[in-house]
Symmetry: C2
Subunit: 201 residues, 2 copies
DNA sequence: CCTTATGTGATACGATCGTATCATAAAACC
DNA sequence: GGTTTTATGATACGATCGTATCACATAAGG
C-alpha cells in the first residue's frame, strides 16, 4: 500500500479548506470539487475521507466545534475575578479577531441551514451553548454571595440578558455596522450596571 | 398582444413564491425553476419579469422589505405610552408569529450571504435598521423628561442594549431553544429595569 | 518475494442549474 | 383589418454538481 497516512490529519486538512470556503463564500459554495481544490487534493480524496457531501458538512462542523472549544478554553483567565471571567466569556462570543470571525461566519452559515434541517440542527444546537446561561447565572450568584452586585437583580434574567446582548451584536460587528470597540463598551456598560460601582474589576 | 397584465402583481406573485422557498428550504434552493414551479408559472415567466437570478434575489428582497415596512407600521400603537411603544417595537423584531418568523428567516438567509456579497450588503443593511437605535434612544429621552426612568442610565447605551437583546434572542426563538413567552418576559424584565417601578405601564 | 490491503488519480453518468433562442397566441394600434 | 407589440411556452446549450466506477501504484504482512 502507499505510505500509511494519518487519516485524522488529512481529514482536518480538508475540513480546514471547507471552513475557509464556508466563511469566505458561504456554505452553498461548498462542493466536493471546490473543497478539494481549496485543500489542494483531488476530488476523489474528499470522497475517500468523507464519503458523501452531507457527511462532509456535518463532520467538518464537528471538527470546528472541537477546534473552537479548545480555542476558547485556552483563553479562559486563570486567577481572574468573576466579573473579568464573565467579561472574557461574553467577548468570546463576538467576532473580534480573524479566528472568531471565521467561527462566527461558519456557525451562522450552518445555523441558518439548521433551521430547516433536523439532522443538522442537532449538531449545531447541541454543541452551541449547552447551558451557557446557567454557567453565567452561577457566576453571578457567586458574585452576589460576595456582595459585589447591586440589589434587586434577577440573576437568571441578567445572565440571559448579557448573553443575548452579546449574540445580538454579533451580526452588527460582522457587517461593520458596529465597531468592535463599541460592542466591548456596551458589554462593559452592562457589567457596570450589574456590579456595584465601588467593586474592583 | 395577450391580455395586458399587471406586471407589479405578477412580480409580487413570483416574489412570494421565492419567499416561501427561502424561508422553508433556504436561499440556495431558490433557483429559477424552483421559484417558477412554486409560483405555478413557467420558468420563462420568471426570466421575463426578473431578467436574471441575481436580479430576482435582490428585487424579491426589496419587495419583502417594503412588505415588512407596511406590516410593522400597521402594528404601531396609537395612543400608547412610550414604554408600550418601545415594547411593541422590540417584540416586533422577534419571530413570534408565522409572518415575522418568515421575515426573520428571509432576512437571516440574505444576511449571511450579504456578509461576503458587497452588492447584496447594501440592500440588506440599508433597509434593515436605519437608526433604530436613535429612535429608541429618543423615546427613552422622552420618558426621562417625564421622570419615568430610573436615575444614572446612559440612554444611548440602554437603547442599544434593548435592541441587541431582542435580536440576540431571535435565533433562539427561531430554533425553539427559547420559547416566545421566555423572550417576551426577558424584554419586559429589561423594560422594568429601566423604568421606575411605580411608573404606569 | 509475493500477495494483499491501502491510498490516490482519472473519468464517466445523470441531474440540475442559469441563460439564450425560437416560436406563437393574442390584444392594442393605426 | 392588417401590423406591431406584449406575454408566454418549448426547448436547447454549456457548466457544475454529487456520486460511482475503474485503474493502479505502493507499502505492509506472511
Amino acid at each position: 500500500m502507499p505510505k500509511r497516512v494519518d487519516h485524522s490529519l488529512r481529514r482536518l486538512q480538508i475540513a480546514e479548506a471547507l471552513w475557509r470556503i464556508a466563511a469566505s463564500r458561504g456554505l452553498e459554495e461548498v462542493s466536493m470539487r471546490q473543497v478539494a481544490a481549496e485543500a489542494g487534493v483531488s476530488t476523489r480524496l474528499v470522497q475517500y475521507y468523507f464519503e458523501t457531501r452531507d457527511r462532509l458538512l456535518v463532520e467538518a462542523l464537528a471538527l470546528r466545534n472541537e477546534y473552537d472549544r479548545k480555542r476558547i478554553e485556552s483563553r479562559l483567565p486563570e486567577g481572574a475575578s468573576l466579573k473579568e471571567a464573565i467579561r472574557v466569556l461574553l467577548l468570546g462570543l463576538l467576532p473580534l479577531d480573524d479566528e472568531s470571525r471565521q467561527s462566527t461566519l461558519i456557525h451562522l452559515a450552518y445555523g441558518i441551514r439548521a433551521v430547516n434541517d433536523r439532522l443538522l440542527a442537532e449538531h449545531v444546537t447541541n454543541h452551541a451553548k449547552p447551558g451557557l446561561e446557567d454557567i453565567v447565572a452561577d457566576m453571578l450568584r457567586g458574585a452576589q454571595a460576595g456582595a459585589q452586585l447591586r440589589d434587586g437583580l434577577d440573576l437568571d434574567r441578567e445572565a440571559a440578558t448579557l448573553l443575548a446582548l452579546s449574540s445580538g451584536m454579533t451580526y452588527d460587528v460582522l457587517m461593520g455596522i458596529r465597531t468592535a470597540d463599541d460592542a466591548i463598551a456596551l458589554v462593559d456598560y452592562n457589567l457596570r450596571r450589574v456590579w456595584r460601582s465601588e467593586s474592583a474589576t
